[in-house]
């Protein structure tokens, strides 16, 4: 799975929160949906994006669908790319703050 799919999957705050929840352990779809004020179909749609990215896997046991993080989906190379990208995103956030503070030039 491509880096873009991973990154896109994590670009959304709801999906990040879901992934964060799943790092604590597997959860059912309704458990995952509980903290969010959205319909179950909307939650399922987010899960579909996460599954398509390979970050999350799910299986149905009886009437309950259980979701878990799929660690194998993230290759170490992907980890590096995402980390490098996140470092630059951080810097460009700081650059934005800095430009707001000093719009007319660098302080002497």
């Amino acid at each position: 799975m491509g880096l873009d799919a991973t990154f896109q999957a994590l670009a959304d705050p709801t999906r990040r929160a879901m992934v964060e929840r799943l790092t604590l352990g597997p959860a059912s779809v309704s458990e995952l949906a509980r903290p969010f004020e959205m319909s179950l179909p909307a939650v399922v749609q987010h899960l579909a994006v996460l599954e398509a990215s390979g970050l999350v896997a799910s299986e149905k046991l009886g009437r309950v669908r259980t979701c878990r993080i799929e660690p194998a989906a993230l290759s170490l190379a992907e980890h590096w790319f995402n980390q490098r990208r996140a470092e630059w995103e951080d810097r460009f956030d700081r650059l934005g703050d800095y430009l707001k503070k000093y719009p007319d030039g660098d302080p002497r």
Partner: protein, 163 residues
């Protein structure tokens, strides 16, 4: 100067190529202003850094001209030492900067990259784009690096989420 030839014969060699683009809009500032924040140590001190509580700058030098070098070495509170070494390839004032850069982690090279920064006027502000094309080197299977560099899924995700 850092040592670019790794002498540790136990390192498993690998290269992974990757590319990403980041776009930002900075309102109320000209492309020249944004460019200037890349063009001097004073400018870069304002943003090309890490949170102060996490590291100390051990060395910062910059020779901003085509063929010139930039170096930034940081001592992290965790004990990790990172080194950024760049060579400027292309400078168009107010418009574009291209440099190559190498990253070293505790003396080991982890990547060589080409970084392109573009600055364009857009709606009273600046449309900014950075593209990195990188070769990420060695160490993916190295246990030491895995522990030190927090390559686990949980660490990776939390680092990402906090970032």
């Amino acid at each position: 100067m850092s040592t670019d030839i790794a002498l540790d014969t136990h390192v498993k060699r690998s290269v992974a190529h990757g590319m990403f683009t980041i776009e930002r809009t900075y309102p109320g500032v000209t492309p020249q202003r944004v460019f200037d924040a890349f063009a001097s140590v004073e400018g870069k001190n304002g943003w090309f850094t890490a949170p102060n509580e996490m590291w100390d700058i051990a060395e910062r030098t910059m020779d901003f001209r085509v063929g010139g070098r930039e170096r930034l070495v940081g001592n992290w509170k965790s004990g990790m030492v990172t080194a950024f070494d760049a060579i400027y390839l292309d400078i168009v004032p107010g418009e574009r900067i291209i440099y190559t850069y190498a990253m070293h982690l505790d003396g080991r090279k982890i990547s060589d990259s080409l970084a392109t920064f573009e600055f364009k006027a857009a709606g009273g502000g600046t449309a900014f784009r950075m593209t990195e094309q990188g070769a990420f080197l060695d160490g993916y299977d190295d246990n030491g690096s895995r522990e030190r560099g927090s390559l686990g899924i949980v660490d990776k995700l939390s680092a990402y989420l906090e970032g």
